[in-house]
């Protein structure tokens, strides 16, 4: 763990330093011409090696990974994926552009538009017609949302896109999470407000100050690093019952036809929320390092099971702690235990400002994020092959290989055709080392959620109801049963609504550039909040610091940003209307 951290830090610094010096550095992804003997596909063609960079933290696969080789044999392409280390997406993409050395495939995250503006991406339009697998991913209306100002499509978002219909069992979004053992200890109470939530965390920590291995518990922590400070920042939006538009509230009290953008940073709920955090910090219930911890430190902390509660989006922490939670640890009395069996798994709570309010922490429909996605760069020598590969990844047999694995090794099929896994297979798929040498999801390439094309299974095992339930640790099952829920989304109990045509607005704000007054305001607002939000939480004089914060915030001219957000909402509404959308009655 430690060495890995240091290595990743070194890599991060190398990238950071080299990007600053802007000299000709080798980014992590150079064109690899293949190593050793050129391998061959089944029909004797040579396998082509591509590189891919995703502007997200991730884990690299080992060379000679089993399923990667299988896919290479079928498609003639092997992709070496590299990930973000230490930097944020914008800086990484910025330095890749400056160095001029691009990978063949890229998911530029927040830097996607810049890649397009610099003319570094290959348009999808012609290939969409050629490869129906790719075209099938979205409807024409949805594809149109990906079109840039030159009328072409340069990337496709690969996430949260369901085949047939949405079958989500999980909650991938944000919530106040709590370990199931805390709920179990309190005999599964109904928790609706921040007051109840923190009271329970404190009571539990007072009664159970240590894990069996002697690690002291931390009632609550919160990540504030870089853009992931949303963990601290945007809860007031959800607490007021609104969905994750990310950069503001879109109020529809005057009807869906007349949406109005509202700032959630200045609401009474915002003040109430930060005041609550301030009180809890003073009581010692909040991790004293919350404001200075790095993402690595945060994950390391969560992996020990000592954090009872947190606010975050599922994808940001859950995949990284699965491995450690499933590994045996030694208790002080010499016995072994596992964190998932102890009930350290987290469940999401849909807290609201006042008890009994409806909330939209969970979004039931697919969220279309057109602001970034999988793209082919102009450095790719054979773009047609790249698109053919992306298309082949959506063939059901290869898709199954990516997410289910090899039949007989990673999953079994019963006589109804239903896929299932044994306990051992499930454990394998939680293990980081097994995943590095055996599984190959190509997780930032096109993929499906929802129903499999066979009509029986799900595209991904996490959504297979039987698999999902069997895969849960015992304390989680008991917890779900106690609340009468089958899935995370049922557990969270969000209001079932159809996504508004402008939703999610963060797909706009993520890509806002600092060329306009609104863009500059957005950058400044971010800087002010990065400074002031942790400050007010740690303050010994909340009221006066809150007033200073609000004054500093007002100086950034948030109205300029809100005006542009309003314009974007109106624009999206008009587009939807032009496709025949009407306001529900």
């Amino acid at each position: 763990m430690k060495t890995k951290k240091i290595v990743s830090l070194i890599l991060a610094s190398m990238l950071a330093v080299s990007s600053f010096a802007a000299c000709s550095t080798k980014p992590t992804d150079t064109q690899s011409s293949g190593t050793g003997e050129p391998a061959q596909t089944g029909d004797g063609k040579e396998i082509v090696d591509f590189t891919m960079f995703a502007a997200m933290a991730g884990k690299e696969k080992n060379e000679g990974n089993d399923i990667m080789e299988l896919i290479a044999e079928k498609t003639g392409v092997r992709v070496k994926e590299t990930w973000l280390t230490g930097q944020d997406a914008g800086e990484a993409i910025g330095s890749i552009i400056a160095s001029g050395k691009l990978p063949d495939l890229i998911d530029g995250g927040d830097g996607s538009v810049t890649l397009y503006q610099n003319g570094l991406l290959v348009a999808w339009d012609d290939y969409l017609e050629k490869y129906p697998n790719l075209k099938e991913m979205y409807t024409d209306e949805e594809w149109d949302k990906f079109r840039m100002d030159d009328g072409h499509i340069y990337w496709a978002n690969v996430f949260g896109n369901s085949y047939d219909h949405n079958t989500a069992t999980g909650h991938n979004g944000e919530a106040f999470w709590i370990q199931v053992r805390v709920l179990e200890w309190a005999n599964y109470p109904k928790i609706q407000t921040l007051d109840e939530y923190f009271k329970l965390l404190e009571d539990y920590a007072a009664a159970n100050p240590e894990l069996p291995d002697g690690t002291p518990v931390i009632p609550y922590t919160c990540l504030c690093e870089d853009w992931k400070y949303y963990c601290l920042e945007n809860a007031p939006m959800f607490l007021d019952g609104y969905p994750n538009d990310g950069c503001c509230i879109v109020n529809i009290d005057a009807g869906m036809d007349n949406p109005k953008v509202v700032d959630y940073n200045t609401t009474d709920t915002a003040k109430m929320y930060f005041k609550k955090l301030n009180e809890e910090y003073a009581k010692g219930a909040i991790d004293p390092d919350f404001a200075t911890q790095t993402y690595d430190e945060y994950i390391a902390k969560l992996s020990t099971g000592r954090v009872l509660g947190l606010c975050d989006q599922y994808w940001d922490f859950a995949y990284n702690i699965m491995g450690p939670f499933a590994s045996p640890l030694e208790a002080t009395d010499g016995t072994t235990f596992r964190l998932d069996e102890l009930g350290c798994d987290y469940v999401p709570l849909g807290l609201t400002a006042k008890p009994g309010m409806s909330q939209q922490w969970h979004s039931y429909d697919d969220e279309l994020n057109q602001s970034s996605g999988c793209a082919v760069t102009t450095s790719c020598k054979d773009p047609d092959l790249a698109f053919a590969f992306l298309s082949a990844l959506l063939d059901q047999d290869i898709h199954d290989l990516r997410f289910w694995g090899i039949e007989g090794v990673d999953y079994l099929v019963d006589d109804q055709g239903l896929y299932y896994r044994t306990e051992e297979m499930r454990e394998n798929w939680k293990s980081d080392s097994y995943k590095a040498k055996h599984t190959c999801e190509y997780s930032y390439c096109p993929q499906w959620m929802g129903m499999s094309k066979d009509g029986i299974n799900r595209m991904q095992p996490s959504e297979q109801p039987s698999e999902f339930y069997e895969g849960l640790a015992e304390p989680l099952k008991k917890c779900f049963a106690a609340y009468g829920a089958q899935t995370y989304s049922e557990f969270l109990g969000s209001e079932i609504v159809v996504n508004a045509p402008w939703y999610p607005l963060w797909s706009w704000s993520n890509n806002i550039s600092s060329d306009t007054p609104g863009g500059i305001a957005w950058k400044r607002m971010g800087e002010v909040k990065h400074l002031w939000l942790p400050t007010v939480v740690m303050s010994s004089d909340f009221e006066s610091d809150w007033a200073s914060y609000q004054a500093a915030y007002a100086e950034c001219d948030p109205q300029a940003f809100l005006d542009e957000a309003q314009a974007e909402v109106n624009k999206r509404l008009e587009t939807a209307k032009s496709y025949g959308w009407t306001a529900p009655v």
Binding site: S13, S95, I97, G111, C224, Y229, A291, T292, S513, K529
Partner: protein, 322 residues
């Protein structure tokens, strides 16, 4: 009258030392000329030609359009810089951290060198010296990881202070803007003191031992010898190093501040280099022009520092660079 004699004398001196550049002389020294030409060409290619890139500071430079196609905006970028409160703040931060670093690293390195020089036991002296310059070979990223670990709520510093009863609860050192400059300066000292002391140690060994002997005969004690022999003997070295480092004041750092910084301390942690990274190389801004403008500012200020301090040194009759 007298003045002119002095002048003419000086001209003569120069004449003696410096032969005129004639074809014959050139031919005679052609090997030397050829050798130095390599460095001149190197300098032109790698230091002077890239300066042409400064031109983009006066454009709204877009990668795809290139220098030819980008729009000219005059000094707009500089106007933006100096109207941007953040830029004024990062100048302050860079300057303060640079000066703190220069001041303390010089003083501490000299003190360390003198003290080490007084150590009689050769083996003890050598091992201390080796141990103390080891951290120089660590990259900043490792140093930051160590500092970060040491200063968290469960880190060694909090642990010691809690056990000694000085603190009642762990203190978030890294989140306190008042401490940030101190932490940066101390990290620099920890990493570089041993290394910086080497050059002073070398300078001390070149001081004529006769001076120490005669000082002893005059009845000087150890401290008096340090004060009246060692320090004056080090003076030329100190001056040259100070002058050279003056140009580096605005290079107060990047990695350390970048990696150690967080939201709470952003107003004291960000340096010019971080500002440039943020505006020029972050894909969300990608304003190469603004970054170049900030870079030009930095270069001009650094040059001014060197020239002015060199001038002052000249006036005071001390050692100087040029």
């Amino acid at each position: 009258m007298e003045n002119s004699i002095v002048k003419s004398k000086r001209v003569k001196e120069v004449d003696i030392n410096k032969p005129k550049l004639t074809a014959k002389e050139f031919k005679r020294q052609w090997i030397l000329v050829a050798i130095s030409a390599v460095y001149v060409i190197y300098g032109i290619i790698f230091y002077y030609l890239p300066l042409a890139g400064w031109i983009i500071a006066f454009q709204n430079f877009v990668f795809a359009k290139g220098i030819g196609g980008s729009k000219w905006v005059g000094i707009d970028k500089f106007k933006f810089l100096f109207s941007d409160k953040t830029f004024l703040m990062v100048i302050r931060n860079t300057f303060v951290m640079g000066v703190l670093n220069l001041f303390f690293s010089t003083i501490v390195a000299i003190a360390f060198a003198i003290l080490l020089n007084e150590v009689r036991n050769k083996y003890f002296k050598k091992s201390i010296q080796t141990i103390s310059y080891m951290p120089h070979f660590l990259s900043w990223i490792i140093v930051v990881a160590i500092v970060h670990d040491a200063l968290t709520s469960t880190g060694i510093i909090n642990d010691i202070l809690l056990r000694l009863g000085i603190l009642k609860a762990p203190y978030a050192f890294l989140g306190d803007p008042k401490l940030f400059w101190g932490i940066v300066t101390l990290s620099h000292l920890w990493k570089e003191t041993g290394w910086n002391a080497i050059i002073y140690l070398a300078a001390i060994t070149s001081i004529d031992p006769c001076l120490y002997e005669s000082a002893s005969i005059d009845g000087a004690g150890r401290f008096q010898k340090m004060r009246y022999v060692t320090l004056p003997g080090l003076r030329p070295t100190i001056m040259i190093l100070l002058l050279m480092n003056m140009g580096n004041v605005l290079n107060a750092g990047f990695e350390l501040q970048y990696l150690l910084g967080n939201g709470l301390v952003q107003n004291v942690s960000r340096t010019i280099d971080i500002y440039i990274l943020d505006w020029a190389l972050d894909a969300r801004n990608m304003d190469y022009s603004l970054g170049t403008a900030a870079g030009i500012f930095k270069t001009v200020v650094s040059m001014t520092f060197i020239v002015v301090s060199n001038y002052i040194a000249k006036k005071k009759g001390d050692e100087r660079l040029f």
